[in-house]
Amino acid sequence: MMTPLYKYGFFGEEFSLLVAFALGLGFGFFLERAGFGSARKLAAQFYLYDMSVFKVMFSAIVTAMLGVTYLGWIGVLDLDLVYLVPTHLGPQVVGGLVLGVGFVVGGYCPGTSVAALATGRIDAMIYALGIFAGTFAYAEVYPAIKGFVNANPMGQVTLPEVFGLPWGLLVFAVVLIAVVGFWGATKIERWVGSRS
């Protein structure tokens, strides 16, 4: 085991900020390449005539998931040292719903809005101002809702742990869902496209 490099002390915090910029560069490049600097392209996911959001997201998830699985298996990556956001099902279910509504209303998610505003999309600039306003408002109401936000802590936990199933089986299931999903998404796109 020698990775994650940062956790094994290969470099310090100052250099990690440089790494952050470099990784962001790649992230932003592929977001824009995929067409995710356009709210119309993103919103199309919810009107079924262009399911690129699903296809890109699940291709990325499968790629990274197979990567960490393989690197963990051959003993290069210590998966226990990779940070997991703690699970709180209540606020994460509600947060997901609210975010989904915000996606359709606003046309972006935070990451894609940065890609869009950087390429000159005025609606994305206004959207980012909305995030600032929303963040400020959230901070103001936080004391009143923090009981709910921090309820039912499950800690850093993965699906294989919760269901008591082998990691490899869950990986296989996600790949299967993705492949069937890609096939279904393309079918739906053609069907919706032929109707309009």
Partner: protein
């Protein structure tokens, strides 16, 4: 709509593999995934701290991002990552001839209404992302690849929420 045709977008599967490899590199190099919403929180904490320092530091949520004053609020990993996102997207957009001032909207909606919706959507997004402890990048993408329980619940609900209201907002896009 456009004065000249743009370069076609990259095949979604190839773009996804590219994104996935960047995410994998982040796991291997940093031991963490990618994100976006946290950078907005740092910026809001910094701005609030400039205008009303006592208010920012007393606030339970912003206070964490402001820190104890030993480091600048903007000297945060996600802030540097998001600056990279902007630079990378701009580079791709220029190469493809897609970088230009424009408003993304369907043909049936006025610019003013589209921009009002963008603002409202941003506000909703901020609330959702803070409730969920991350957005589509920090939760769905990053946690999805790590089989994180909360991330999968979150991702499912994003699609449920989006499809539930899509019909009511179709005038904005089609």
């Amino acid at each position: 709509m456009n004065p000249r045709p743009d370069t076609p977008y990259l095949n979604p599967y190839l773009a996804g593999i590219g994104l996935g490899l960047v995410l994998l590199a982040s796991f291997v190099i940093m031991g963490r995934g990618l994100g976006a919403s946290g950078a907005f929180s740092s910026t809001v904490a910094w701005l609030t701290n400039l205008v009303a320092p006592a208010h920012a530091q007393a606030n339970e949520y912003l206070g964490e991002y402001v820190g104890d004053g030993s480091t600048h609020p903007l000297k945060a990993w996600l802030v540097f990552e998001v600056i990279g996102v902007a630079a990378g997207a701009l580079l791709s957009g220029i190469l493809a001839g897609r970088a230009r001032l424009a408003v993304e909207k369907g043909p049936r909606v006025t610019t003013a209404i589209r921009l009002a919706c963008a603002f409202a959507g941003g506000m909703l997004m901020a609330f959702g992302a803070h409730l969920a402890r991350g957005c589509t990048s920090g939760q769905a993408l990053t946690g999805g690849a790590l089989l994180n329980v909360g991330s999968w619940a979150f991702m499912l609900m994003v699609f449920v929420g989006g499809y539930a209201v899509a019909w009511f907002f179709r005038w904005q896009w089609r």
